[in-house]
């Protein structure tokens, strides 16, 4: 990196498509900019999908290698980021195929519904953790608990939550990425959020009692 002759000017290659076009036209060094831009996000995604460090590292490496090799096949029909995450999701599925044969876990809708019905029967005030300004709630410890709660979601719900709520893909983009219908994405996302809410409720209602 130290001896690089032409460090890419970030302002000039802010946009992924422009960057990809230049890489394909021969400025291969610019692939580094894509790596710098996406490796951390892929790693965060990988850590939450794979639940362990070595698998997450493999995932990042495989995704980036595959993206580099297949870059000439990128058709600019979707955003580069979507294309890249599609590669990551596929790599992840390949990795987990064996594990998933064990059991495709489900989130029981009846359980979630029963909880909601309980709540409706005994309505209370909005709890402190949902009323406080967000900034007052955030802490390293809470972040770790949120990550852990996300990690405990069954994979097919987790991947939807990560793509929608963390990576910020739209419902339609997520549906295309995962080859699901938009309705399916919405249903999974909603269940994932309800499940997380239950987990966080437990953590936060205890943690905030003294606050």
């Amino acid at each position: 990196m130290k001896t690089e002759r032409t460090p890419p000017a970030p302002a000039a290659v802010d946009d992924d498509d422009a960057l990809v076009r230049r890489i394909l036209a021969g400025e291969r060094e610019l692939f580094r900019v894509l790596v710098e831009r996406y490796a951390p996000r892929l790693y965060t995604f990988g850590r939450r999908m794979c639940r362990n460090e070595p698998d997450a590292e493999d995932l990042v490496q495989e995704t980036l290698l595959s993206a580099f090799r297949h870059l000439p096949e990128f058709r600019f029909e979707s955003k580069f980021k979507n294309w890249l995450f599609r590669i990551a999701v596929n790599a992840c599925r390949k990795k987990h195929r064996r594990a998933r044969l064990a059991a495709e876990e489900e989130l029981a809708l009846e359980d979630l519904d029963r909880r909601l019905a309980d709540e409706a029967a005994r309505p209370g005030a909005v709890p402190l953790w949902a009323r406080l300004p967000l900034e007052r709630l955030l802490s390293e410890e809470l972040s770790a608990q949120v990550r852990e709660a996300i990690g405990s979601l069954p994979e097919k719900y987790r991947v939807v939550l990560l793509l929608r709520d963390i990576e910020g893909f739209s419902t339609e983009e997520t549906a295309r990425l995962l080859r699901l219908t938009p309705v399916n994405v919405k249903v999974r996302l909603h269940r994932a959020r309800l499940f997380l809410r239950e987990r966080l409720k437990g953590v936060l209602e205890h943690g905030l009692q003294g606050a």
Partner: protein, 95 residues
């Protein structure tokens, strides 16, 4: 309390649309129906508020930085990749 006189089936029905409501994915008439219900039903208002907060917390859960040794390995890999004469897969045969 606020919910005494109302039908809980309506709450369950509504609860399935709270995520879509929070994401701004409902059409105007559906949105109005949800808002009217939320204004009248403490349980659903509470559900919506806690769900909204859950999503905010997810969004703000800190990203995990690349471990330093991995970042170095990745850098090495990249250097090798970029130093290779061509993308291996599409390398034309000599001759």
């Amino acid at each position: 309390m606020a919910c005494r006189e109302h039908d809980h089936r309506r709450c369950l029905e509504l609860s399935r649309r709270i995520s879509a409501y929070l994401d701004g994915e409902l059409d105007a008439s559906e949105r109005r129906a949800v808002e009217e219900h939320l204004a009248a039903c403490l349980a659903c208002a509470c559900c919506a508020a806690t769900l909204k907060r859950t999503v905010e917390l997810c969004r703000r859960a800190a990203p995990q930085p690349l471990p330093e040794p991995f970042a170095r390995r990745l850098d090495g890999l990249l250097a090798r990749l970029l130093a290779a004469p061509r993308v291996p897969k599409s390398r034309p045969r000599r001759g």
